[in-house]
Amino acid sequence: MLHFARWKIALIVLVVAAGFLMTLPNFFSAKQLESWPDFLPKNQMVLGLDLQGGAYLLYEVDKDDYVEKRMQGLVSDIRTTLREDPRIGYTGLGVQGESAQVRIRDLTRLDEAEERLQPLVNPLVSNLFGGQPVNEFDLIVNDDGLVRFTYSEEGLDNRLTYIVQQAIEVIRNRLDELGTTEPNIQRQGTDRILVEAPGEGDPERLKDIIGETAQLTFHMVDQSMSGEQALQARPPVGTVVKMSVDDPPFPYLLEEAPLLSGEDLVDAQVSFDQRNNEPVVNFRFNQSGARKFALITQQNVNRPFAIVLDDEVISAPVIREPITGGSGQISGNFTVEGANDLAILLRAGALPAKLTVLEERSIGPGLGADSIEAGKLASIIAGTAVIVFMILAYGRFGIIADLALMSNIFLIFGALTVLQATLTLPGIAGIVLTIGMAVDANVLIFERIREESRAGRSVISAIDAGYSRALGTILDANITTLIAAVILFQLGSGPVRGFAVTLAIGIFTTVFSAFTFSRLLVAIWIRRRRPSKLPI
C-alpha cells in the first residue's frame, strides 16, 4: 500500500492542486477577479438565499378559480351557440360545481343541439403523445335533455401546463420590468411555480407585483339603470355589476362583453396629469386595438366607459371626443408607486390565472451577511481545534492528517464551486461536520497502525496493514452516511439540500484524501526517514 506509481502521484497532486485552484477565486472580490488572466478559474461559489439574502416564493395556480372562470366563459359560449338561428330552446344554463350544464327543452332536437355544441369541447394539440388529440372538455348528453361539459383529466392537465408556462413568462416579464437581478423562476410539480429572487430587499413589493392578475378590460357602461338599481334588481341580460376601487366602493352596471382588453396594449408609462399633478398611466394600443378604440369612441361620444382591472372599476370616464391616436390615459387616485406598478403590470401582461402563495421565505441581506461571518468564524475555529487536537494525539502523523484535512477542505470548496452547487447555512454546518468527521478516516487508519504495531509488526508492515485493513471499514462507514445524504437530498428543499450536497461531497473528498493524499504523504515520509520506530 505504500508504493505509488509515478502517474498516480502526479494524478493525486493534480487533483489536490485543482481543488486549491478552484477554491481560490472565492477569496477575492469580483472586481479583483476581472484582472485575472483568462486561463485561471474565476467561478465563485453560489450562495443560497439564506446567505446572500433574497426572497423565495412558492406559488400555486388557483385551479378552482381558473376552472370556474373557464366554465363561466363556456356558459356564455353555449348561450351564443344555442341562440344562433335556428334557435334551440334551453333552460337551466349555468355553472354547476366544476361543470357547465344546460337542459334542452325540445328532446327531439337533442341530437341537433349536441352536434352544434360539439365543437365547444375544444380539441387541444397534445405534444405529449403526438398521436391522439385530446379535448379540453368531455361532453355528456343525457336522454332527458341534460347536456353537461366537464373538464377531461388530460384537458385540465394540458391547460394547467400551458397556464403555468404562460404565468412563468408573465412573472419573468414583470421581474425584468422591476429590475430584479437574476431571478430564478421555475415550474414545480404540475401547478406550482417557484420564484427565487436573490438580493431582493423588499419581498412585499415583489409579492404585490407577482400576485396581481392584472386582467385589464374596457367595458361600456350600461345606462339603462343605475348601478344601485341593478344591485337591487336583476341586471339586464348581458350586463354585470362591478364595484369601483373607491372607498366606499361604488357599483357600476357594465356590458359583460369587454370591448378591448390588456392584450391589445403595447405600452404603458407613468406620467403626471397636467391639471392636478396626479400620477396617471398612459397607454398605447396596438394597431387593431387602436382601430377598434377609435371606432368605439366615435360611436359613443358622451357616454361613459369603464376601465376594469381584476374585476374592479378603476375609473369610468365619459368619452368627450373620438380618440383616434390609439392612446389613452388611466387616472384613478394613484400614488406614484401604485401608478408605476400598474404600468409595469400592463406592460408585462396579465396572468392567465390567479396565483396563491403557498410558502414564503425571505432573508434580509443583513442577516445573510451575519450568517456568512458566523459560518466563517465557526469553520475557522472548528478547523483549528481539530488540527491542534490531531497533532496532540498523533504527533507527526497528526500533521499528515491535518494536511489531508486541509486538502480535503479545498476539495470540498473546489467541488462546490465547479458544480456551482448552492452553499447554504446548513451547508456550512455540513462542512464543519465534515471537518470533524474527515479525520475519522485517518483516526481509523492510525489506530489500526498502532494496533498492528503492538501486535509486533515492523513499522512499514504495520503502516501497510493499517491502510489496507482500515479500507473496508472506512468504505462501509462512509457508504451508510452517504445513503443518508442522498435521501436527504431527495427530500430536501433549499437549505437542507445544501446540507446534503456538502455532506455528500465531503464523504467523497474525505475518502479520497485519506486514501490517496495522506497515504502518499506517509509513503514519502517513510522513504525519506526510513523510521525504525513508529512515532504514534
Partner: protein, 316 residues
C-alpha cells in the same frame, strides 16, 4: 508524549455493563416516547404552518410593548423572544384559520405595527397549510426510507443480526434525540430532520466500525466465547470511537458557539445525537448481537466462502 484518550489494551467488560446500559436505554426510550405522545414536540412552521418574523430594532427592543401591540392584532398564539441579542427579536405566529391567503395577511398586518419605527425585517418565513403537510410527510418518509436503505446495505454486507442490531441502535439514538426535542421544547423544523438524518448517519458509521471489528474477530478467533469476543472488539475500537467523537464534537461545539442563532438548535441536536450515538455504539450495538443470538460459527462459515481472497491475503 502524545495524547491518549483511552489507554492501550483496555479490558472493560462491556457485555457485563449491558445490565446497566440496557435498562438505562429502555427507560430513556420509554420516557422519550411518553413525552412525544403526551407533551409533544414543538413543531416549527415548516410542519405546522405559520409565520416567523425576525426583526432588528434600533437599540434594545421592548419585548413587552411589542407583545402587547401584537396582541391587538388577534393573530392567536404569538410568541415574542430575543434572538441572539437585545435588539434582535423573533416573532412566531401560529397558522391562521382560513387557508393560504389568511397566512399572507399576517405579515402585512405585523408590518403596519412597526411602520413608524426604524425596524429592519431580517427574515420573514410563511408556510401555508398545504406545504406544511407535505413537508411533514416528506420528512417522515425521509427518515423511514434512510433507515430502511441502510438496513438493507448492512444486511447485504453483514449477517442479518448485524442489520437488526444496527437499526435498533440507531432507533435508540433517534428516539432519545426526539426526547431531547420534547424535553427542551426545541423548535422542530426541516433542519431538525436534517440533524436527525445526520445523527442516523453518524451513529451507523460508529456502529459499523464496531461491527466490522467483530466480524473480523469472529473469523480470527473461532474458539473464543461470544461475550469475550465482543468485549475484545469494543475495547480494540474504543480508542478510535472516542477520538472521532471528540474531533466531531470539537467542530460542532465551535459551530454551536460561533455559528449564529439561526442554526443553534440544529447544532445542539447534532451534538446531543453524537454523544448518544457514541454511547450506543459502545454500550448497545454489540450487546444486541448477543440478544439476537449471533453464532460465531454460522457467520464465519459464510464469510469464509465469500471473502477468502482478501481475507487470506490480509492475514498472510
Amino acid at each position: 508524549m502524545l495524547l491518549r484518550l483511552v489507554p492501550d489494551n483496555t479490558h472493560i467488560k462491556f457485555m457485563w455493563l449491558r445490565k446497566v446500559s440496557f435498562p438505562l436505554s429502555i427507560v430513556l426510550v420509554i420516557a422519550s416516547l411518553v413525552g412525544f405522545f403526551t407533551v409533544g414536540m414543538n413543531y416549527g412552521i415548516d410542519f405546522k404552518g405559520g409565520t416567523i418574523i425576525e426583526i432588528k430594532t434600533d437599540g434594545p427592543a421592548d419585548i413587552g410593548a411589542i407583545r402587547s401591540e401584537l396582541g391587538t392584532l388577534n393573530l392567536g398564539d404569538v410568541q415574542v423572544q430575543e434572538f441572539g441579542g437585545s435588539d434582535d427579536i423573533l416573532i412566531r405566529v401560529e397558522e391562521q384559520p382560513g387557508g393560504e391567503l389568511a397566512q399572507q395577511s399576517v405579515v402585512s398586518r405585523i408590518r403596519t405595527i412597526f411602520e413608524d419605527d426604524n425596524v429592519d425585517f431580517r427574515r420573514v418565513e410563511v408556510v401555508g397549510p398545504r406545504v406544511s403537510g407535505e413537508l411533514a410527510q416528506a420528512g417522515a418518509i425521509a427518515v423511514g426510507a434512510s433507515l430502511l436503505a441502510i438496513l438493507f446495505y448492512i444486511w447485504f454486507r453483514f449477517e442479518w443480526q448485524f442489520a437488526v442490531g444496527a437499526i435498533l441502535t440507531t432507533a435508540n439514538d433517534v428516539i432519545i434525540t426526539i426526547g431531547l426535542f420534547v424535553l427542551l421544547q426545541l423548535d422542530f423544523s426541516l433542519s431538525s430532520i436534517a440533524a436527525v438524518l445526520t445523527i442516523i448517519g453518524y451513529s451507523l458509521n460508529d456502529t459499523v466500525v464496531v461491527y466490522d471489528r467483530i466480524r473480523e474477530n469472529l473469523r480470527k478467533y473461532k474458539k473464543k466465547s461470544l461475550t469475550e469476543l465482543l468485549d475484545q472488539s469494543i475495547n480494540e475500537t474504543l480508542s478510535r470511537t472516542t477520538m472521532t467523537s471528540v474531533t466531531t464534537l470539537l467542530a460542532l461545539i465551535a459551530l454551536y458557539v460561533f455559528g449564529g442563532e439561526v442554526i443553534q438548535s440544529f447544532t445542539l441536536a447534532m451534538i446531543f445525537g453524537i454523544v448518544i450515538g457514541t454511547y450506543s455504539s459502545i454500550f448497545l450495538a454489540a450487546p444486541f448481537l448477543i440478544l439476537l443470538n449471533l453464532r460465531a460459527d454460522a457467520l464465519s462459515s459464510k464469510d469464509d466462502d465469500e471473502e477468502k481472497g482478501p481475507n487470506a491475503k490480509a492475514t498472510a
